[in-house]
Symmetry: C2
Subunit: 124 residues, 2 copies
Amino acid sequence: MSRNTIAKTRILEIIQGSSIALTHAAIQEQTRDVCDRVTIYRILDRLVNENEIHRIVNVNGVVNFAACKRCSHSSHHHDHIHFSCIKCGELTCFEDQSIDLNLPSKYIIQEYQLTVAGICGKCS
Amino acid sequence: MSRNTIAKTRILEIIQGSSIALTHAAIQEQTRDVCDRVTIYRILDRLVNENEIHRIVNVNGVVNFAACKRCSHSSHHHDHIHFSCIKCGELTCFEDQSIDLNLPSKYIIQEYQLTVAGICGKCS
DNA sequence: TTATTTTAGCAACAAAGTTGCATTAATATG
DNA sequence: CATATTAATGCAACTTTGTTGCTAAAATAA
Ligand SMILES: [Mn+2]
Ligand SMILES: [Mn+2]
Ligand SMILES: [Zn+2]
Ligand SMILES: [Zn+2]
């Protein structure tokens, strides 16, 4: 069973308290004296496996993490749209926005990553 | 003006001759004695800027490259679906599949990356 | 053919992520 | 509450991916 350590609690708080998705580097800056950077990687993995947070790959390939409302619920999914602003750099979840996929029937869909890049509402 | 060197021609041939998208590492394996790995990065950048190929970010964050039919045409775009098989690892373009986005009007969309992960037709 | 400009190679560097192992902390059990 | 058990952490070392500066070598223009 997974243990709730100080570092894990702190990192989950940071992610849940953020309105935007955060990179490992951004989390590291906020946890300077809490734990090692390797520990952050391991805690992020654990939180993803425990469905507390989800992983978002930005259009540039950089991995981000966010907690969304559905995360805590069972039978949840993260198939929503993410928006990455090229001006302010913020990566935001659009939890109410999903899409329809029409792939050939032989294809079994497990998950998808949809990240839209452009200029956000604040920056336009 | 961009110059058509041996390495650039060879790399474009490899990408155009492939039915699946290729990573820098995969391209490097096929160009062992052709050129340096830094040169491959620079050629890939050039080919993207010249709209000969396009860049796809996989669900794991790994960058892939593919040439699609629309690439050579002017006013083309790469807003199509990509499928990443978790069994065979192949990343395929679905050039005929696009999606509808309904973001708030203040959001200006520039590009998107949509990669679906699951089991492909061959592996299911 | 020679001048000009782009491209290539090389070394060095940086960011992101992984692994092994000894130590420390959290939880379970008596 | 004490201690055994197991999970988490820190640290060092390493890998992968990508970038930058600079000189040498090619490609194209004149
Ligand atoms: Mn999200
Ligand atoms: Mn494609
Ligand atoms: Zn913005
Ligand atoms: Zn497959």
